[in-house]
């Protein structure tokens, strides 16, 4: 096949299968498994179809543009090495699928399982076929994700959940490091394209970022390949269904790390740091894994540690940096995949058939399941490195390399001994694995009576064991060409001559092998009885990896919580102080850099009245600040005084509109605040007797005073600096010049509000509308505090008085109180309305306008409410504030949109004079219509808010009824 496009299919097919499987019904296990199998085989078939090209040493490439500006294209790339690896992934994948079909319980909803498995397979193939560094990272993280899902497949088991989580966190974290490492690598190479990277060895190794990149990439690879000290997650991943273990821990997942190391070997290997880090890590892993495997009681645990050990071996080989070692690494990768997969599957059969994997409980199974026993024995022999099996060949290569001198360090000296020792351990646990399971007396008290597994379930093992044998016996005819392709594409012109012969004569490696075999077997015979009593591995059992993992996580969280307490707050006061401090500091920075100076203008002469005004205004403000805690009403009155000073200042500063509006707003705000005062708690005296405040309080208040004074000073300084500077050439000149000619009004401020910047006003009335709706909504569910539900003290006393005195009926005190005021206030209502209409009408030319008119109108209503009480007013008048709001908004927007009809943008005003008989020129401005909209919204909103608050007084008697004791909070729709 020459069309590179099918490479995409190799990766895409498993994902497609995954999606299909996800939607299959839970019970369709035959369909799900056959579909998965077919897909794996189809992908594999495409791969096989590319073999002729690969054999010729060609590299198949297919790129789809994806993120070209960042040098990221979806690139698939197939060479000898990746072909071999992909074949392994897909081939073993197909076998695992077949195996899983029989392994998984009929009750198990396997479509989900196969969905995850295929997605995992796709991700793994994705890593292998990636022609781009980022794409590798992409699929890399996907394998972490899907392995998480696979390990946690039986998530109703605690161990599965924990194992999955640990695997994800460790490998995911490694993956992120890998991403950065690869990004650095790409930066050094000038491209993320793999071929470009592979071609820039010299540039990369000379780059100062080489070491950080190397470390980051190695962290990624080591976590994935369970290298010491990151190995601890792998044994816990055994909580996965056995087919998953067979797959993840033989050909995929853990192999991704060594795959990457092999792939990047040409550019990364050969430096001293590479040698030191990779070799040391590999060696440590090799020994630790082998040692721990000896002491496992769980068959899968033993295999897991053995996997760790073998991965260490491969890593060690890659770390050595010599081409021959690389060849051995590639070869061992393949070999390990075959025998380890078959061993896992055999373990699965035993578990399946006997109900346990405990080496201490199992015994003499060979007579119950002879075929499985045979297969397992062969595979275990391969693992131990027994001649005529594939494991022997690669281990011989390893031992030969161990004898070579690579760096002249102590590692060179120690390596032969340690390699032999590790091999002996390997023999030790292999023998134990086989002997304790299959030999000895028949087992007692197993959950199930052991029996041979169904033939289809054995078939994958048979195929794999056959492969072990064939490679072991006739390597050159079987694996030879494939390995040659792979080696050539990794090593290129550094490809060494190597021999795949079974017999090299009596060499030192052979001697080491023999020592290992004999030593391992001897050790087993010596210690076999004691092993069963071991709870955890001696020496390294103290390296409690997972415990450390959890402890580290816990420490992180505890530290985080401590820091969060320390550097965060829930308190409003602190947050407000921080905002003001920040503003003060940032506002001061420019003056600190450039210096503060007043402007060149002289102060204008102080008007004595203005001075008097602000003496009392300032006194009111300060006094209000002082009184607000214990004397709310007093503070309110004082703020009113300061407000009046502000209003008069506006007039003095040539802003009649502002004075007018501010006054009206003052009145409404005062009423609002008074309305709310009734619902606030009674002020209790200071909790500290006068003068006995704790020093902390003094300090805090002192700080607040300092901050307040600093803020006041800062704002004053800014204001002074502004006012003493000559005004810039402002855009407002245009407003004055065009207010009448273009806007049809003589009150420039109002023309700005309804025309030049009418859009602001539209937003402003929207704010009003929103706030009113919110207030209304909030008050519909308002529940006063229990002690406020009572009638105010005054009313209770007055009612009591009414009741007690003979010539008073209930409510007479109030009636007498309001008799005269009521008459006047009632008849003022139409007067105020008229005045409001007047303000509305004249706004465009003189101070006034829709807002002022609207507020005045609502004050008129408040007057009525105060005089007559809510019930009486609402019995006679029906005000529908929300309708007013709606109509006002629609009116304002419609006025704006009307301009569209004439081809002008939104809010384009139109004003002209209509000459009517008798009356003369009548100004007709669309702006007036807009202002009417504003008026309606303001009336609606102000009324809605005032009335909503006022209504609480009528509502509360209902709440006061004894029938309703403290009801639980009605949290409709809340998260209950």
């Amino acid at each position: 096949m020459h069309d590179p496009r099918f490479l995409l299919a190799v990766v895409a097919l498993p994902f497609l299968g995954s999606v299909i499987a996800a939607f299959l019904p839970a019970r369709s296990r035959n369909l799900a498994s056959s579909l998965a199998g077919v897909i794996a085989l189809a992908s594999a078939a495409i791969l096989v179809a590319y073999y002729p090209l690969i054999e010729q040493g060609e590299i198949v490439r297919y790129a789809l543009p994806w993120l070209p500006s960042l040098g990221l294209d979806l690139t698939f790339r197939l060479d000898g090495f990746t072909w071999l690896f992909a074949a392994l992934v897909l081939g073993i994948g197909a076998l695992v699928i077949l195996y899983a079909r029989y392994y998984m319980s009929p009750e198990d909803p396997v479509p989900r399982f196969f969905a995850f498995l295929q997605a995992f397979m796709g991700s793994m193939v994705g890593i292998v076929l990636s022609g781009n560094l980022i794409q590798i990272a992409f699929f890399w993280e996907l394998t972490s994700l899907f392995s998480f899902l696979l390990i946690g497949y039986w998530h109703h088991n605690q161990s599965a959940r924990d194992g999955a989580r640990m695997a994800l966190i460790v490998t995911g974290a490694g993956g992120v490091c890998l991403l950065v490492g690869l990004l650095l690598l790409g930066r050094m190479a000038g491209s993320y394209d793999l071929d470009a990277v592979l071609a820039s060895r010299a540039a990369i190794q000379a780059d100062p970022a080489y070491l950080p990149a190397l470390i980051l990439i190695l962290i990624g690879a080591f976590t994935k390949s369970a290298q010491f000290p990151f190995h601890f997650w792998l044994p816990h991943a055994m909580a996965a269904p056995t087919p998953v273990s067979a797959y993840l821990h033989s050909a995929t997942m853990v192999k991704a790390g060594v795959f990457l190391l092999t792939l990047l070997w040409p550019v990364l290997a050969g430096t001293e740091s590479w040698y030191l880090i990779v070799t040391t890590t590999g060696l440590a892993t090799l020994l630790v894994g082998a040692w721990a495997a000896i002491f496992q009681q769980d068959m899968k645990g033993l295999l897991a540690y053995s996997t760790i050990s073998h991965l260490g071996l491969i890593t060690l080989l890659l770390g050595l940096g010599s081409p021959l070692a690389a060849v051995a690494a590639i070869f061992h990768t393949v070999n390990h995949a075959t025998f380890k997969a078959s061993l896992f599957m055999a373990t699965g059969i035993i578990d399946h058939e006997t109900g346990t994997r405990d080496l201490r409980r199992l015994s003499g199974l060979a007579r119950f399941m002879p075929i499985t026993a045979t297969l397992a024995m062969v595979a275990a022999a391969a693992m131990a490195g027994v001649p005529l099996l594939n494991g022997f060949l690669s281990k011989e290569m390893f031992l030969a390399e161990a004898l070579e001198s690579h760096s002249g360090t102590i590692i060179d000296v120690l390596l032969p001994y340690l390699a032999t020792l590790a091999s002996a351990f390997s023999v030790f646990y292999s023998v134990r694995f086989i002997h304790q399971t299959f030999f000895g007396p028949p087992p007692v008290g197993l959950p199930h009576q052991p029996a041979e597994a169904p033939p289809w379930m054995r078939l994958p093992i048979e195929i794999l064991v056959m492969a072990c044998l064939l490679v072991g016996v006739v390597p050159a005819l079987t694996i030879g060409p494939l390995l040659a392709n792979a080696v050539a594409s990794v090593l290129g012109d550094r490809t060494p001559t190597y021999s795949l012969a079974i017999w090299h004569g009596f060499t030192t490696p052979l001697l080491m092998s023999v020592i290992a075999l004999v030593g391992g077997a001897t050790l087993y015979i010596l210690f076999r009885d004691r092993l069963n009593a071991v709870e955890r591995s001696p020496i390294i059992g103290r390296l409690k990896g997972r415990r450390t993992f959890e402890a580290v996580l816990a420490a992180i969280v505890n530290v985080a919580r401590g820091l969060h307490e320390r550097f965060g707050t829930r308190r409003l006061q602190v947050q407000l102080r921080l905002i003001i401090i920040t503003a003060l500091l940032l506002g001061a920075v420019p003056f600190w850099r450039l210096g503060y100076s007043r402007g060149p203008l002289h102060d204008t002469l102080i008007d004595p009245v203005f001075g008097l005004l602000w003496m009392l205004g300032g006194a009111c403000a300060v006094a209000a600040a002082w009184q607000a805690k214990f004397h709310r009403l007093v503070a309110l009155v004082l703020v009113g005084g300061a407000g009046l000073a502000v209003c008069i200042s506006f007039i003095w500063l040539s802003a009649p509109d502002l004075g007018l509006t501010q006054l009206l707003v003052e009145v409404v705000t005062l009423i609002l605040l008074l309305l709310s005062l009734r619902w606030l708690p009674k002020r209790l005296p200071d909790i500290w007797p006068e003068g006995r405040k704790p020093p902390k309080v003094h300090v805090r208040r002192g700080g607040d005073i300092a901050l307040a004074v600093a803020g006041g000073t800062g704002v004053a300084a800014l204001a002074y600096a502004m006012m003493t500077r000559p005004p810039p050439h402002s855009i407002s000149r245009y407003f004055v010049e065009n207010a009448y000619s273009g806007g049809g009004g003589t009150n420039v401020v109002n023309v700005i509000l309804v025309d030049f910047r009418g859009f602001d006003t539209l937003g402003e009335i929207t704010v009003l509308a929103i706030v009113a709706l919110t207030v209304f909504t909030l008050l519909r569910r308002f529940r006063p505090a229990p002690e406020s539900i009572e009638l105010p003290d005054q009313q209770r006393r007055q009612n009591a008085f009414d009741e007690a005195s003979e010539d008073h009926a209930m409510g007479d005190t109030l009636a007498h109180y309001l008799l005269v005021p009521r008459v006047i206030m009632q008849w003022l209502f139409p007067v105020v309305l008229t005045f409001a209409l007047y303000l509305l009408m004249r706004g465009h030319d003189l101070p006034g306008g829709g807002f002022a008119a609207g507020i005045a109108t609502s004050i008129a209503f408040v007057l009525l409410y105060m005089a007559n009480g809510t019930r009486l007013v609402e019995a006679s008048l029906s005000v529908q504030p929300v309708r007013w709001i709606s109509a006002g908004l629609v009116c304002a927007v419609a006025t704006g949109i009307a301009a569209w009809v004439f081809g002008y943008p939104f809010l384009t005003s139109h004003s002209r004079y209509l000459t009517l008989p008798l009356i003369g020129d009548v100004p007709l401005a669309s702006a007036l219509l807009f202002d009417i909209g504003v008026f309606a919204v303001v009336v609606g909103t102000t009324l809605l808010m005032l009335i909503a608050i006022a209504h609480q007084s009528i509502r509360s008697p209902r709440a006061r009824k004894p029938a309703q004791p403290a009801t639980p909070e009605p949290q409709a729709g809340g998260r209950a």
Partner: protein, 160 residues
Amino acid sequence: MKRLVPFPLLALALFAMWILLTGFSPGHVLLGALVALIVSRTMLSLRPEPPRVRIGWAMVRLAGLVLADIVRSNMAVAKIILSNPPDRHAGFIELPTDLRSPYALAVLALIITATPGSLWVQHDANRHVILIHVLDLVDETEWVTQIRERYERLLMEIFE
């Protein structure tokens, strides 16, 4: 007419107010009339006690009396404030009244309160007694008779 303009006095007052505010022009006469008509009708829904007012000389006489009293008491109170005589003593007086119309009572309240030195505090509708505070109380009965003679009679004439 009554149906169209239910409160003619109010409408008139509003119209006058409009003209005072806007100035006299044909357009504003029309607009003012319109506003006065419409706004005065809002009182309909409030259903106030129907005011009965007799327009006549009594009103003018009352106005004159009140103005004169206000000027006089202004001087008196200013003197009190500036000299602050130690023998001044203030106090409440109770004033029985025959007035029943709330409008008449309101106008009396306005007069009493607008006159410096006296302050309407409340009217007990059950006992028909008005409570007044006086700044410089020399003779309680004199106050009572003065108010009854000078104001109450005229008010009865106008409102009842």
